[in-house]
C-alpha cells in the first residue's frame, strides 16, 4: 500500500492577538484521501488555526506547506487558488444570486466583459451532478433548504479544484437523512484524493467518519492519532486535560423553595415552521441554587435562556413556572417585570448601548421604577447607579463616561449592575466572564456567592469548565437541543460533562 501524500502541513503555528497568545506552536498534517477530525473544546483554537490556513489571518509565526510546497496565503482568494476551501458554518453564498453565479463568483467566465451565461450554467450543472445533485441553477440560492445550500457550497469548493476541504460543524443544521447524504459525499471526496479536515463536537460523527484525529487544548497541540487508537474516553481526556489551573474557592450552598420550573419547554428561534433549538426540556432550580447548563455549539442552551426570557416572542412551547405560578413571557419587558434577568453572552451586541453613559445603561432595565409619571430625575439615576456600583470597584473616569470607552471587565460590571437594579428572583447568566481579566472574574465569582446567599436562583452557562464546576450546584448537559445528563456538584467531572455534551448518553 502506498503512503498517502501529505496535502497540507502546518508546523510551529503561533498566533497572538495583542497580548493574548491564542495558538502556541501548533502542528497539523492532512493526508490525501483521509477524513481528519480536528477536535477540542470551545476556545481551544480550532477556528483560529483554520482561519490561518484559509488565508484570513496572514500575520502568524510558523509555516504552511501545501503539497510539500511552502505557501503563505494572504487572502481567502489566494488560499482558494492554492487549493484550500473552507465550508464555514455561516455559508458564504449570496442569497439573492443564482446558483450558477454563486458557484463561479469571482471566476465568472466572460468574453470581452460579458458573462457567458450558457457556459456558466453548464459548468455549474456539471459540478452539481458530480455530487449527485440535479438543480435548477438559475434559481436564487436562498430558495433552497440549508442542506442543499451546503451542497452548493461544496460544489463551489470543488469547482475551484480544492484538494484540502475544511468543514466546520457542517451538520449543525441538517437532519439525519441529510447527514447521511453529506457523509456519502465525504466518502466520494476521499476517493477523489482530497483531504477533508472536519471540525465537530459530536462524538457520534467522529466515531462514524474519522480516519485520524488531532486534538487541540488551550491553543496547544495535544496529539494526533488514528481514530481506532482514540476511543471516546481517551479522546475526552485529551480534550480536557488534567490540570484545571487556578482553583477558586468553592462556595457554600444555601437552598430555598423551588424558584423556577420548566416542563416540556421548547424554543423555536426562527418560528414554529423550522427546527426547535431545544425541545422537551424539563428542569427546575431552587432559590439560592446555581444550576449550570453545559453544552457545545449547537446545543441550544443560549436559545433556551432567550426563550424563557421572552426574547423570541411567542415562539416557545411548554410550561414555565415561577414560584409555582405559571408564566409565559412574549417580550423581555414581561420577564423583567416578573423579576427575571438575562445577561447575554455578547455585551457589545446585545447587552449594552455603547454610546450611552454608565448611568444610562445601568438604569435602562429598571427605569420605570425610578421615573414616576415618566419624568426622569438625573440625580435619582446617579444615586441609584452609585449604590449599585459602589461595591463593584468600577474603574471609570466618571459615571457619565460612555460605556464604549470602558474595558471589557468594567463593561460587564455595568451590565450586571443593570440587572441587579431590577432585583431579579431568577438571574440567567450567559458566559458572564467571557473576555474578562482574571481579577474581575474573581470579583464576579464572589458576587455569585452573595447573590445565592440573598436567595436569587441562578442559571449559569459557561464554556470554561473550571468556572462551571466551581460555581454550579448542579450541572445539566445539553446536546443538540436535548438534555443528555445531569450531575450533582460532587459527581461532576470535566470528562463526564464533555462526554455528555458530545452526545454520549451517561453510562458510568
Amino acid at each position: 500500500m502506498s503512503i498517502p501524500s501529505s496535502l497540507v502541513r502546518l508546523t510551529g503555528i503561533t498566533k497572538r492577538f495583542g497580548g493574548v497568545t491564542v495558538l502556541r506552536d501548533v502542528q497539523f498534517e492532512g493526508l490525501a484521501g483521509e477524513v481528519h477530525v480536528l477536535a477540542g473544546e470551545n476556545g481551544a483554537g480550532k477556528s483560529t488555526l483554520i482561519k490561518i490556513l484559509a488565508g484570513i489571518y496572514s500575520d502568524f509565526e510558523g509555516t504552511i506547506e501545501l503539497d510539500e510546497r511552502p505557501v503563505r496565503p494572504r487572502s481567502p482568494t489566494e488560499a482558494n487558488t492554492l487549493g484550500v476551501a473552507v465550508i464555514h458554518q455561516e455559508l458564504s453564498l449570496i442569497g439573492p444570486m443564482s446558483v450558477a453565479d454563486n458557484i463561479f463568483l469571482g471566476r465568472t467566465p466572460t468574453r470581452g466583459g460579458f458573462v457567458q451565461e450558457t457556459k456558466q450554467r453548464e459548468a455549474a450543472r456539471h459540478e452539481l451532478r458530480q455530487l449527485g445533485l440535479e438543480l435548477d441553477v438559475t434559481q436564487a440560492v436562498e430558495r433552497f433548504p440549508i442542506a442543499t445550500r451546503q451542497m452548493i457550497e461544496i460544489a463551489k469548493a470543488l469547482s475551484q479544484n480544492a484538494k484540502v476541504i475544511v468543514m466546520d460543524e457542517p451538520t449543525s443544521a441538517l437532519n439525519a437523512p441529510e447527514v447521511n447524504t453529506l457523509f456519502t459525499l465525504v466518502q466520494s471526496l476521499k476517493q477523489r484524493g482530497c483531504c477533508i479536515i472536519y471540525i465537530t463536537h459530536k462524538m457520534e460523527e467522529i466515531e462514524r467518519i474519522a480516519d485520524r484525529i488531532t486534538v487541540l487544548r488551550d491553543g496547544q497541540w495535544v496529539g494526533t492519532a488514528p481514530a481506532a487508537d482514540l476511543p471516546p474516553a481517551k479522546l475526552i481526556q485529551w480534550m480536557v486535560g488534567r490540570d484545571l489551573g487556578e482553583q477558586f474557592p468553592r462556595h457554600a450552598q444555601h437552598f430555598g423553595a423551588e424558584r423556577m420550573r420548566l416542563e416540556n419547554f421548547a424554543v423555536y428561534p426562527t418560528g414554529f415552521s423550522s427546527r426547535a433549538a431545544v425541545s422537551d426540556v424539563s428542569l427546575s432550580v431552587q432559590a439560592g441554587e446555581v444550576l449550570g447548563l453545559a453544552g457545545l455549539q449547537g446545543s441550544g442552551i443560549s436559545e433556551l435562556l432567550w426563550g424563557i426570557f421572552g426574547a423570541y416572542g411567542a415562539a416557545t412551547q411548554g410550561r414555565l413556572f415561577l414560584e409555582n405560578t405559571q408564566c409565559r413571557f412574549t417580550a423581555p419587558r414581561q420577564a423583567i417585570d416578573a423579576g427575571v434577568a438575562l445577561l447575554t453572552n455578547d455585551r457589545k451586541a446585545t447587552g449594552l448601548v455603547l454610546s450611552l453613559s454608565i448611568i444610562a445603561n445601568a438604569t435602562l432595565a429598571g427605569l420605570r421604577a425610578i421615573s414616576p409619571g415618566g419624568w426622569r430625575s438625573p440625580s435619582r439615576e446617579r444615586q441609584a447607579t452609585e449604590t449599585l456600583t459602589a461595591s463593584m470597584r468600577l474603574r471609570a473616569a466618571s459615571l457619565d463616561s460612555e460605556v464604549g470607552s470602558l474595558s471589557g471587565g468594567n463593561q460587564q460590571k455595568v451590565a450586571l449592575a443593570k440587572w441587579l437594579q431590577i432585583q431579579p428572583r431568577l438571574f440567567m447568566l450567559d458566559e458572564p466572564t467571557r473576555g474578562i481579566d482574571v481579577a474581575a472574574k474573581r470579583e464576579i465569582y464572589q458576587w455569585v456567592e452573595q447573590w445565592t446567599a440573598q436567595g436569587i436562583a441562578i442559571l449559569l452557562i459557561s464554556s470554561e469548565m473550571p468556572e462551571l464546576l466551581t460555581l454550579s450546584d448542579r450541572i445539566i448537559v445539553f446536546h443538540r437541543g436535548a438534555i443528555t445528563a445531569e450531575f450533582a456538584r460532587k459527581e461532576a467531572t470535566p470528562e463526564l460533562i464533555l462526554a455528555a455534551a458530545m452526545g454520549q448518553k451517561a453510562s458510568a
Binding site: I336, L354, S355, L364, W375, R376
Partner: protein, 328 residues
C-alpha cells in the same frame, strides 16, 4: 487653551463654534449695517422658525435611529387644512388647532406604524408618506391655494377676512421685535427638550438608536417608543404648517417642498448623529440658528442664487467632517 481644546471636542462646543463663526461673518459682511438692526434679528428668527419646528421633531426621530422625509408634505397638508377650516368653514381657533394637530399626528402614526410594526425601512416608509400627504394636500385643496378669495357660483370672487387665528400667529410682540412664530418655535424647542432629556421616553429613544437589540432585551418598548417619535414629528410638522398658513394667509398645497432636507441639515450641523443614539435638542437649536443666520447673511448681501447653494453646501459638509474627527 486646554479648556478651549476640550470644549471643541464636545459636539456642543463645535456647534457653538460654527454659530459663532457664522455670526462673525455676518458682522463683517453686514450689508450697510443691516445685520445689526433688531428688525433683521427678528426676521432671521422668524424665517428659521418653521424649519426649526420641523428640526425638533426630526431630532427625536433621528436620535431613535430613523428619519422622517414626510414632514415637508405634512406642512402642506396641515396648511391646507388650517386654511380650509379657518377661512372657508369659519371654525374657531380652538377647533382649528386640535384638528390640524390631529392631521399631523395621524400621518405620523401611519409612518411610525409602517416603520416600527411592519419593519419597513424608515427612508422608504416616510418617503411614501411624503408622496401620500402631498397628494392629500392637493386633493383637499383642489390643486389651488386655499385663500381668502372665495369663488362664487358665477365665477367671480368674494373676499373674506383673514381669520383671527392667522393674525394672532403672524404678528410681532415686544414692540414689534419678536415674532409670535418665533415664540411658538421656542415652545416647541422646550417641549422637545423636556421629552428627550427629562422623560423616560427620551432615554428609550437614545437606547433604541444606540443599540436597538440591546434596548429590546433590556425591556425597552421599542415599537411603541418609535411610533411615538413619528407621531411627535407629525405634530411638530402640523404646528409648522399652521404657522406657514398664517404667514402666507393661505393654504398652499405646494408648501414645504424640500423643507425636510433643511430640517435634516439643521439637525446634522447641530451635531446629532444620523446613525442615532447621540445628540439632542440643544444641539439642534444651535444648528437651526447657524443655518438661519447663514441664510440671512447671504440674503441681505444679495448673494446670487448659485453662490448661496455652493456656500451652504460647503458649510454643511465642513460641519459634518469636523464632527467625525472629533469622535474618539
Amino acid at each position: 487653551m486646554k479648556s478651549f481644546k476640550s470644549a471643541l471636542s464636545s459636539p456642543a462646543g463645535r456647534a457653538f463654534l460654527a454659530l459663532v463663526l457664522v455670526l462673525a461673518a455676518g458682522a463683517i459682511f453686514n450689508a450697510d449695517h443691516a445685520f445689526f438692526k433688531i428688525g433683521t434679528q427678528r426676521d432671521t428668527l422668524r424665517q428659521a422658525s418653521v424649519y426649526g419646528m420641523l428640526a425638533c421633531g426630526m431630532t427625536l426621530v433621528i436620535v431613535s435611529g430613523g428619519i422622517d422625509l414626510a414632514v415637508g408634505s405634512i406642512v402642506a397638508l396641515a396648511a391646507v387644512c388650517a386654511a380650509k377650516m379657518a377661512i372657508h368653514w369659519n371654525w374657531p381657533w380652538w377647533q382649528v388647532v386640535p384638528a390640524c394637530l390631529g392631521v399631523g399626528a395621524l400621518c405620523g402614526l401611519v409612518s411610525g406604524w409602517v416603520t416600527a410594526s411592519l419593519r419597513v425601512q424608515p427612508f422608504i416608509a416616510t418617503l411614501s408618506m411624503m408622496v401620500l400627504a402631498r397628494g392629500l394636500a392637493k386633493y383637499a385643496s383642489g390643486g389651488m391655494k386655499v385663500s381668502t378669495a372665495l369663488p362664487n357660483a358665477d365665477g367671480s370672487y368674494r373676499y373674506v377676512e383673514i381669520p383671527a387665528l392667522f393674525h394672532g400667529i403672524d404678528h410681532s410682540i415686544f414692540g414689534g421685535n419678536l415674532s409670535v412664530v418665533t415664540l411658538i418655535f421656542l415652545v416647541c424647542v422646550a417641549l422637545a427638550w423636556l421629552a428627550l432629556a427629562r422623560h423616560r421616553w427620551g432615554r428609550y429613544l437614545y437606547a433604541i438608536g444606540g443599540n436597538e437589540e440591546a434596548a429590546r432585551l433590556s425591556g425597552v418598548p421599542v415599537v411603541g417608543a418609535k411610533i411615538c417619535a413619528y407621531i411627535a414629528s407629525g405634530l411638530f410638522a402640523a404646528v409648522a404648517g399652521l404657522c406657514q398658513a398664517a404667514q402666507e394667509q393661505q393654504g398652499d398645497p405646494e408648501a414645504g417642498a424640500g423643507y425636510e432636507l433643511t430640517a435634516i441639515a439643521m439637525v446634522v450641523i447641530g451635531g446629532t448623529s444620523l446613525m442615532g443614539g447621540r445628540g439632542g435638542i440643544g444641539l439642534t437649536l444651535l444648528g437651526v440658528l447657524t443655518i438661519g443666520y447663514l441664510d440671512k447673511i447671504l440674503s441681505i448681501n444679495a448673494v446670487p442664487e448659485a453662490g448661496r447653494l455652493v456656500l451652504t453646501g460647503i458649510i454643511i459638509v465642513a460641519a459634518v467632517l469636523t464632527q467625525r474627527r472629533g469622535r474618539t
